[in-house]
Symmetry: C2
Subunit: 329 residues, 2 copies
DNA sequence: CATGTAAATGTAATCGATTACATTTACGGG
DNA sequence: CCCGTAAATGTAATCGATTACATTTACATG
């Protein structure tokens, strides 16, 4: 493993010249450029990023904080981030916090220790105080889950509006007893989606029954199942269920199916995110589509601009209601 | 952002002493240790990994190569890798090649340029020549998909045996017309699983009909659907299907369901990997369980040992047949 | 041919740590 | 009080690049 010195001496030039060749600068004569390139080839030289990184004091690594990769919702976002990152010579460190503050802290430390140049946080459970404090000296963007007035730029969708549309769709189909499978209301998206749910009901003169609102501990198939188990145990069962995540909806669907009930005849079902599996279930799932790839690319661009020191504005993207079998015989 | 110099001068000691305090070495008197710690706190000092990494010429980053994170099969493996990595102060760079040689090369370059200390490759489509060449100077482990006699240590399962058991299970249930949804035979696991399939058939005197063997271009829900579409178009439809991946099986199931056929009555179905969703389908999927988390932890441990320069032996782990509704009314 | 200017190349400081080796300090025993 | 040894601390080289600034070279012009 040769270093720049050895290349320089083999080529009979200074390290500066080698560096200039490597970095493709113009001020090198063709003759020396060739000499240097030969030496590089001969020694199999690859510039060490460790040296370069120290000198330029950047790591060219972006940290992406997600609660867990088990939720396919993040897949396309990550793909978007990755595509932009790679095109700009960055790499991404994908960090699952698993809602574990210790893990989170390990990852925050990577930024503090300059092992990463910035953070895209998608973790709803992130410690927002720490994140804001970090954002004073480091480039940080929130994606999907965000915080109002934190000063941290974000890219997300109109959760309340999306939720409103989903529930309105159910109401138009004639449903009045509509349950909500939400997650913990400490998360902004959970509050916003619940707001949309309530707004739709109220607008149509349907009273909001707190007994119809369920809170899953987390997003996950099994939590959807659990919630649906409770719903199916109710005296006055709802005729429709809106889950704030496809994973919850798919878990719920599993529970409905295994009791022999029919979707949508016995119970209609709407999810959120349009993950790939939502089209594989039987019946297929009506859901809200988010522009996930786009969101990822934007988040990455915003972060890179922020790293460059530019001002960055937050963005709200459009969503879409995708009507499938679970709400339409 | 203070550096070690500033801490040293504020504490009135040399940088060496600060470094010793930071790295928790014994040869520092309690008095100076306290002085230094105060200075560190006062200046909000965080040691830069860039400096350290250059000096120790390691990046403490492990590169994990996977074809795509869309396949939940990798989730638990990644979790295993991550847990070990973090416990040993490493971080992982998760790299999706998307079967794109260009991407792959970008990632290989990270190792060449010392941005990563080693590679765990799980990509069946990896360029094995390049990987072997790299392994001469860099620590590399293969996980799940491997290469015989390449000199690269691996951790995997007995694909042929697992496949054999799955198909034998179908035969015992009385099936004789059993189709195989495989992937491209250029992958070792595909060949091994096909071998197991053939072995089971032959052992029971069932002739292997090449018309029953289908090749999906890739692993993915839609490819499973496509393959099943062809199968359902056959004159002499099989009574059972074994897919070499749960994703393929779930796609296939979707196709069967939407034609109104019943699993397992009309067609029995077996998948491979036991991903979470395989228990959410209707009916639930009989499948082969791989010890994915374990595989991940082992791969990580092997890689770290390899980085340390130790000799590392390959490992074959046990698998398990999980019988569920898709093969048993 | 001297000279000025631009192009090409070189010198050496620098990024921020670690660490071998050197030096100083502390302290117990004679 | 001196000395030897161990403990504590310091000095300075080093990792491998980048780059400001200095120097050399090339070449056109009068």
């Amino acid at each position: 493993m040769a270093n720049i010195q050895q290349v320089a001496s083999l080529a009979g030039v200074s390290v500066a010249t080698v560096s200039r060749v490597v970095n493709g600068q113009i001020t090198v004569s063709p003759k020396t450029r060739i000499k240097v390139e030969q030496a590089i080839k001969e020694l199999n030289y690859e510039p060490s990023m460790l040296g370069r990184n120290l000198r330029t004091s950047e790591s060219r690594i972006l940290l992406v904080l997600i609660p867990t990769i088990s939720n396919p919702f993040y897949l396309e976002i990550i793909r978007g981030i990755e595509d932009i990152a790679i095109s700009q010579d960055y790499n991404i460190l994908l960090c699952q916090t698993d809602t574990n503050p210790e893990r989170e802290n390990i990852y925050f430390n990577l930024v503090r220790k300059k092992m990463a140049d910035g953070i895209i946080s998608m973790d709803p459970a992130v410690n927002i105080e720490t994140l804001v404090a970090l954002s004073e000296h480091h480039a940080i963007i929130q994606c999907s889950e965000y915080t109002i007035n934190s000063g941290i730029p974000f890219v997300s969708i109109d959760n309340e509006g999306a939720s409103y549309r989903a529930v309105k769709h159910l109401i138009k189909l004639g449903h009045e007893k509509i349950a909500l499978i939400n997650t913990d209301e400490k998360y902004l998206y959970a509050r916003q989606r619940q707001m949309g749910y309530q707004k739709a009901l109220e607008e149509h003169g349907i009273p909001v029954d707190q007994g119809y609102i369920f809170h899953a501990q987390q997003i996950g198939l099994e939590y959807g199942q659990q919630a649906m188990k409770k719903i199916l145990d109710m005296d006055e069962m709802p005729t429709a269920v809106f889950a704030v995540s496809d994973l919850l909806a798919i878990g719920a669907l599993k529970e409905i199916n295994s009791l022999g009930l029919k979707v949508p005849d016995d119970i209609a079902l709407v999810g959120f995110d349009k993950i790939d599996f939502s089209n594989m279930t039987n019946p297929t799932l009506t859901t809200i589509a988010q522009p996930m790839y786009k969101m990822g690319t934007l988040a990455a661009k915003m972060l890179i601009n922020k790293i460059k020191g530019e001002r960055v504005e937050s963005i709200i993207l459009d969503h879409e209601l995708v009507i499938r079998e679970s709400t339409s015989g």
